[in-house]
């Protein structure tokens, strides 16, 4: 598994975490290039369907990021996100998917260093788990 490079989709909320990612860039923080960012207006915009689709289309891990509790631009979006991800992680587990493949993190626009740290941690964790192989099992 030494040459396995994980593919990770990270959803970035426009008002906080995207800024955090931007800052990480400005500050020249180092983090792996395994993460592919998708900007959304709020973490609550990410639905379980998006996460499923990411996995089915080849992601080995999915990271959802948003503003810290209390800071959501739309007031309670991230509370919905907390519940959504929690409920959905249980569902994924029933389907035999390792719950470590999905992660929720709060990253503010001032936390460039946290952004880089989370991306690094997630990449290493998924590297350890190995690829998520959803190719059809044969009869």
């Amino acid at each position: 598994m030494a040459d396995f490079e994980p593919k990770i989709i990270v959803f970035l909320c426009n008002w906080c975490s995207y800024g955090g990612g931007d800052l990480a860039g400005v500050n020249r923080e180092q983090y792996p290039s395994n993460v592919l960012g998708i900007k959304v207006m709020c973490s609550s915009r990410v639905s379980p369907e998006h996460i499923m689709e990411s996995f089915v289309d080849g992601a080995d891990g999915v990271l959802v990021t948003g503003c810290h509790p209390g800071d959501c631009h739309y007031i309670d979006g991230n509370y919905k996100t907390i519940r959504k991800i929690d409920m959905f992680t249980k569902i994924l587990e029933d389907f035999g998917i390792d719950p470590k493949r999905i992660r929720l993190e709060w990253i503010s626009s001032a936390e460039g260093n946290k952004y880089a740290r989370v991306m690094t941690e997630m990449t290493e964790e998924i590297r350890e788990l190995g690829p998520l192989n959803l190719k059809d099992e044969v009869e």
Partner: protein, 323 residues
């Protein structure tokens, strides 16, 4: 020969409910017989495999296939029926979205057989039926189970989907004539509206602080069941049934599957539910308290995917978690 349409019915891994539902349309069955001759219907007529093989390709105008695809026999039969038929209708939820039996996809076939034949509740105690066995009269063959339950369209091309467990008389009264007259497209009978859109109960815009098992609740028959704290699949389920279940005080359990255009009923329900669950004043709460609400959602996988698991994104249990 009459120039009436030639139609047929076939069941795969089914409970029989779909077969019965055809008779549920009362006197309208006479209109159907007026329009069509039934040329193949094992439930009522006892034809043999050879009879079907002997039919000319494309000689059945419309075949209605119900039940899930669970065994190699189901698989072979529907492939044969596809050749013999001009139009294939996936009749009922088992056939169109995998159905109730699809919940078995959360276990391996070996686990299911073990559970079915080797638990204290089973009399034979540990005798799992063999695929081949010798008896004085000769050799018997049982078609093996497939690795997982499938919807019909995983095996053959489907021309029209008609979900429902089983499709209800009102769905059939609307749908059957259109099917026979060739007036419906593939997904026309899968509603774009949800059960909530058709539900007569009164909804409020409010947060639901937790869910309760239905047996613990005295439900107000006028108010939305979900608002009262009992799980109702209405928001993530296709209508056209006219919401008979919530109308008589029972939550929708999702039998029609997802609304047209939605791929994954369970993921949709998780979204919908996460948005309405919650407590007032949660801005001042710890994350763990916010998550507490979710604990009251019992068996989300089994409840949200009760009828549509084989057609969800993941379709069956994967082997990603190791020991």
């Amino acid at each position: 020969m009459s120039d009436k349409l030639k139609i047929g019915f076939y069941w795969c891994a089914a409970c029989g409910g779909c077969e019965i539902s055809v008779l549920d349309i009362d006197e309208m069955i006479l209109d159907v017989v007026e329009l069509a001759d039934i040329v193949f219907w094992p439930c009522a007529m006892d034809p043999k495999y050879e009879d079907l093989r002997a039919m000319e390709d494309g000689s059945i105008d419309v075949i209605f296939i119900n039940g899930s695809i669970r065994s190699t026999e189901n698989e072979e039969m529907v492939k044969l029926l596809r050749e013999k038929s001009k139009k294939v209708v996936a009749y009922g939820s088992c056939s169109s979205i995998g159905g109730l039996f699809g919940l078995g996809n959360l276990y391996s076939k070996e686990e299911l057989l073990e559970y079915g034949y080797n638990t204290p509740s089973t009399e034979e105690g540990g005798v799992i039926p063999a695929e081949n066995s010798k008896v004085p009269e000769g050799e018997l063959h049982l078609p093996p189970l497939l690795h997982h339950v499938r919807s019909l369209d995983e095996i053959i091309e489907v021309d029209i989907y008609l979900p429902g467990c089983p499709p209800l008389p009102n769905q059939l009264k609307e749908g059957l004539p259109l099917i026979l007259e060739g007036k419906v497209g593939k997904y026309d009978l899968v509603s774009q509206k949800s059960v909530c859109d058709e539900c007569p109960l009164e909804r409020e815009e409010k947060k639901i602080p937790r869910l309760y098992p239905i047996q613990e609740m005295m439900l107000d028959p006028e108010r939305c069941i979900l608002d009262q704290g009992v799980l109702c699949m209405g928001p993530a389920t296709a209508g056209m049934c006219e919401a008979p279940c919530p109308s008589v005080g029972h939550p929708c359990i999702g039998c029609n599957g997802p609304v047209r255009g939605v791929k994954d009923q369970g993921a949709r329900m998780a979204s919908a539910l996460a948005s309405v669950l919650g407590v007032e004043g949660e801005e001042r709460m710890e994350e763990s308290e916010i998550i507490d609400v979710v604990k009251s959602v019992r068996d989300p996988t089994g409840s949200f995917y009760r009828f549509s698991l084989p057609k969800s994104y993941l379709r069956y249990k994967r082997r990603d978690i190791h020991g």
